[in-house]
């Protein structure tokens, strides 16, 4: 195991109120896998990884990273083997990419050259540009290069693509996929379900400081009982409310929910279930306004488990 933690708790006392940022979290990350912590803002992801990184003391719980424990006299040795990006770091504005990487390289006994690190994140042409002159995506790639420069066994990436535009996100995904292919263990946090699905071998869905679901993205999705989602809305013919439960009777529908006028059915075979739905609608004298189908994603898993969405927006 690259990381194991059991019954992890972290309580912040802020004035009168206490916040249980991490609330009995268990985790096992295997060597060589890319493991994702997926959860909404405030779920406790950052607190968890910073405990694993030895930056925050847990209130209680047992943490083992690469077979070692923090505070056991081998912290320095352990840090040699970790690569880290924090959720938010602003590197020094007036240093160039190369100078920044050279500084981080000097902290590690073993590692790769700044040039090689820049190549890993495709930033060679920005080698001599100051950090202040880089875009958000480029800065994030420098941060990842800093995490890789010590040839780490285990890489922590906290929200690596938050705030980036779609193109910059895809570039970063390529970088992470390359790290994974090179045989590194990765633990990343994200509140983007597509990111977790695309990058992670296994995902722990985190909410209110504990893991509420764990498994490969495909497994989590298949547990919903179907691979596909039919979404539709109805023309407001009359004001008669329609109960989502009536669609549960249609052939092949495993879940049926309604949210502000949108019906969401989970099905295994859309081509069998759609005719049944349409028949039901015409019997009830209802008319479709729109209908789409898509694959089930981790967002649906989260909504199914919590009744809430991953993102507020």
């Amino acid at each position: 195991m690259a990381v194991t933690c059991r019954q992890l708790f972290k309580r912040y006392e802020t004035g009168r109120a206490a916040v249980d940022a991490v609330n009995g979290l268990d985790l096992e990350v295997r060597r060589g896998e890319c493991f994702g912590l997926l959860g909404p803002n405030g779920a406790g992801k950052t607190t968890t990884v910073e405990i694993l990184e030895g930056l925050i003391e847990p209130t209680s719980g047992d943490v083992e990273v690469l077979g070692m424990r923090w505070g056991g006299g081998r912290d320095h040795e352990l840090r040699q083997k970790l690569g880290i990006t924090l959720q938010e770091t602003r590197l020094r504005d007036k240093l160039s990419v190369r100078e920044t990487l050279r500084m981080f390289r000097s902290f590690y006994r073993d590692g790769i050259e700044p040039e090689a690190a820049m190549a890993l994140v495709a930033l060679e042409e920005k080698a001599d540009a100051w950090i202040s002159k880089l875009s958000g995506g480029q800065r994030q790639r420098v941060a990842v290069a800093c995490a890789l420069i010590g040839r780490p066994e285990l890489v922590f990436l906290d929200e690596p693509t938050t705030g980036l535009d779609p193109q910059a996100r895809r570039q970063l995904w390529d970088v992470v996929a390359d790290i994974r292919r090179a045989g590194n263990t990765i633990l990343l946090t994200t509140h983007y379900m597509d990111e977790a699905e695309k990058l992670c071998d296994r995902v722990a869905v985190v909410d209110h400081g504990r893991v509420i679901a764990l498994g490969a993205p495909r497994d989590l999705i298949s547990r919903l009982g179907g691979e596909h989602v039919i979404e539709f809305s109805l023309e407001p013919m009359d004001q008669r409310p329609v109960d989502a439960d009536v669609f549960a009777a249609v052939e092949g529908v495993t879940q049926s929910t309604e949210e502000s006028g949108r019906f969401v059915l989970t099905v295994s075979e859309p081509h069998r279930s759609i005719p049944g739905c349409l028949a039901l609608l015409s019997r009830e004298n209802l008319e479709l306004k729109s209908l789409t189908t898509r694959h089930v994603n981790l967002e649906d898993v989260f909504v199914n488990l919590t009744g809430r969405h991953l993102r507020d927006d």
């Binding site: 320095h76 924090l86 938010e88 020094r92 007036k94 100078e99 500084m103 390289r105 000097s106």
Partner: protein, 347 residues
């Protein structure tokens, strides 16, 4: 290669580069003190002798003795009606008003509780008596003390160097440390195998290294522009300045050890620096403050840096004579570094 692999060297380089790439920082360390030296030096360093100003009333203006006073190059005499003149005297705009009363006696209007008034009256009366023919009974000779080394500008330069040492140490270290903390960079650095001691040493080291050229630049400018001499050895000047730089860096580190925002560090800095700006004798001797507050003033590090700098630069005293100021600085060093390292907030 070795520099590439030395964490300490890389940390120093990062600080040095960040500093050199900020033109405004360079202005505050080189430009601003130079402007102070030039501005204050010119203001207090006129080559002509100071002339004593006073007022003569209209009624006395035609008196032959007063005529002689008006011709005397040592005086700057203004003539006006008595009422207007006395009004200016009450507002302390002139030290003395000279008049002549009905019987022909010379009158001096002045405030005997004001030392300027008493001194001016004595000088003017002396001139009046001599003009009327009084001879001196005791031979006396004037020895001038406005030679280089004892003028106001000479006094000022070590004071400004001390002020600069304090500002550079506190701002240079304190502000940068909190900036790194706000950026989450401190946390990022301690997440690497970097030794924390290297980081602190590099922070202080790069600051102190910068100070040496700064100080010699100021001393050189003062020498070229105003002929401010350096009576002591360069080595002792350097030693005193380095002691000051290291001390203020330590105090900067302590002030910055917990602060989480730029606003709080700015407030703390002012809290620490303003008493020293006011009391430590940058612009006039700290010994002019009342005896009751002297113990407080004498333990301030800036007071002792400036005392020691004046002693070695202006008087040429040897380092051995600076045991007291250097001892006070050593105490501040021990206190600030020990405490700062103990309470420093890394994450």
């Amino acid at each position: 290669m070795t520099i590439d692999r030395s964490a300490f060297a890389q940390l120093v380089l990062a600080n040095v580069r960040s500093y050199l790439r900020q033109p405004e920082a360079i202005f505050w360390t080189y430009g601003f003190p130079l402007i102070m030296v030039v501005g204050l030096g010119l203001a207090f360093n006129s080559d002509t002798e100071a002339r004593l100003p006073f007022i003569v009333t209209q009624r006395a203006a035609s008196d032959p003795i007063v005529q002689k006073l008006r011709a005397d190059a040592r005086f700057d005499v203004e003539v006006m009606e008595q009422d207007a003149a006395l009004a200016l005297l009450r507002r302390n705009r002139t030290p003395v008003v000279v008049s002549v009363d009905a019987s022909g006696e010379v009158e001096y209007f002045f405030d005997p509780t004001n030392p300027d008034g008493t001194a001016a009256r004595a000088v003017i009366d002396d001139a009046v008596q001599r003009a009327a023919g009084r001879a001196d009974v005791v031979a006396s000779v004037d020895r001038r003390t406005d030679a280089p080394g004892s003028r106001y500008v000479d006094f000022l330069v070590p004071g400004l160097i001390g002020m600069n040492l304090m500002g550079a140490g506190l701002w240079g270290i304190g502000f940068n440390t909190v900036d790194l903390r706000v950026r989450n960079l401190l946390k990022r650095m301690v997440a690497t195998p970097m030794r924390r001691g290297h980081f602190l040493l590099a922070l202080v080291g790069s600051r102190v290294v910068f100070f040496v050229p700064e100080m010699f630049f100021l001393l050189l400018a003062a020498k070229l522009l105003f002929g401010v001499p350096i009576a002591g050895s360069y080595a002792s000047v350097l030693f005193v300045a380095l002691s000051g730089a290291v001390t203020f860096a330590g105090i900067g580190l302590l002030v910055a050890s917990r602060a989480r925002t730029i606003e709080s560090i700015s407030g703390l800095m002012n809290l620490v620096m303003i008493p020293m700006w006011l009391c430590s004798g940058i612009f006039f001797s700290s010994e002019r403050f009342p005896d009751a507050v002297q113990p407080f003033i004498q333990v301030l590090p800036l007071t002792q840096v400036i005392n020691a700098l004046r002693a070695v630069i202006l008087v040429g005293e040897p380092l051995a004579a600076q045991a007291f100021p250097l001892g006070i600085l050593a105490l501040w060093c021990a206190l600030s570094y020990t405490l700062a390292i103990r309470v420093f907030r890394w994450v």
